[in-house]
Symmetry: C2
Subunit: 230 residues, 2 copies
């Protein structure tokens, strides 16, 4: 079964939205894919009537993936994240450069290519942003961490994942040293969703950086050694 790039992107988007926000609505998909809502309606109708059925869709009710659809979504995500890792490790791309390149390559590489870069990389479990790389049979490495915006004053943790692909944001975070494996300590928490102040690194006297909600919502941390949340 050979799927168009457009369809692969819809499946991937549905997967991500369902997992990151609980459900995938027409508007959310339109936003994510940068197409008109009407186009999403049309595509969902098509996807849900085609066989094999890749999505479960009822008008006005949002959409979810069937097992067949999820399998494909995970294959595309595996491609994407393996490629990101390869670009980073083998070709020296910085973590803010990898997403755009992977976005195009993910649709065209062969199984052969996938296998060879996975091999070269030693079958990594996470990509340069800490996103888990699905295995060939569609299993996701478990990652136990919680969102930075839920941490309270005094807590310390290790950065595990930055779930955002905006190059400017990634460069900003890298500048502050907020990258996977870095140690963070919350030195101050303003109330009412105000900025969170974090120290980067293990030294106690380090300068703190004030981070707003849009940033702290994207950073995931493994607190101490005791972790909750997905």
């Amino acid at each position: 079964m050979v799927l168009s790039e457009a369809i692969e992107n819809y499946l991937k988007a549905i997967y991500q939205l369902c997992h990151e926000r609980g459900r995938a609505t027409t508007t959310a998909l339109a936003d994510w894919l940068e197409v008109a809502p009407a186009s999403v309606s049309g595509m969902l109708k098509k996807l849900s009537s085609d066989r094999p059925k890749l999505v479960q869709y009822t008008r006005h009710r949002g959409v979810s993936l069937t097992p067949a659809g999820e399998k494909i979504a995970l294959e595309v995500i595996r491609h994407h994240r393996l490629i990101e890792m390869y670009l980073h490790q083998a070709l020296g791309y910085s973590w803010d450069q990898v997403h755009d390149e992977a976005e195009k390559l993910e649709h065209v590489i062969s199984e052969e290519f996938e296998d060879r870069i996975a091999e070269k990389l030693g079958h990594p479990e996470f990509d340069p942003h800490g996103d888990p790389i699905p295995t060939k049979n569609g299993e996701l490495p478990k990652l136990s961490c919680s969102c930075l915006s839920t941490m309270s004053k005094g807590q310390t943790g290790r950065v595990r994942r930055v779930r955002n692909s905006d190059p400017a944001l990634l460069r900003y975070l890298a500048e502050l040293g907020i990258v996977p494996d870095a140690t963070l300590t919350v030195s101050e928490r303003a109330p009412f969703g105000g900025p969170l102040h974090v120290q980067v690194g293990a030294e106690p006297g380090a300068a703190a950086h004030a981070l707003g909600r849009p940033v702290t919502d994207q950073v995931f941390v493994e607190v101490d050694g005791t972790a909750v949340d997905e």
Copy 2:
């Protein structure tokens, strides 16, 4: 200017046909691209009326590239051959596997990717089949060799290039040891386009292989140290 994959393939095909056979006709293009002749007519009309003009076309007269079109064709060919070399050298692909993968990747990689793999490879001049890789400014490394089918009995030479991407043929040639840099000696020449017998390697007593015209037309050799032809 962002071009579709289809257009890039037309430009590449026109380039190759003009250089390998002197001219690019509608039927030859249709054959090469595996589309109907009518589709080629339509595309050529479009390409020659669009601006910037990428091809020079007059109905019933064949087509050629304008300087602008040739520039793009050479960029795509550079992508293709660099990728082939990268797959071979960095990922261990065999020479019969690289073409198909490169055919898809060539259209989606960025300038960044191109530069990085060229760098990793040490700016190679030839791909795994001996095809010259255009430089960034569109220059082709000069390759002095002549077609195996023009060699006469007793002549010895070094394989420089195999201009064919059929995996089965490439595997067959590799099996015989006919790969770039191998030494060949013509031990027998049947008349009237009959098979050519070649010994592979430097040892005088080696067994000879009989090769038909379809094969010998694709293999290019640098005879002794004195070479002619392009």
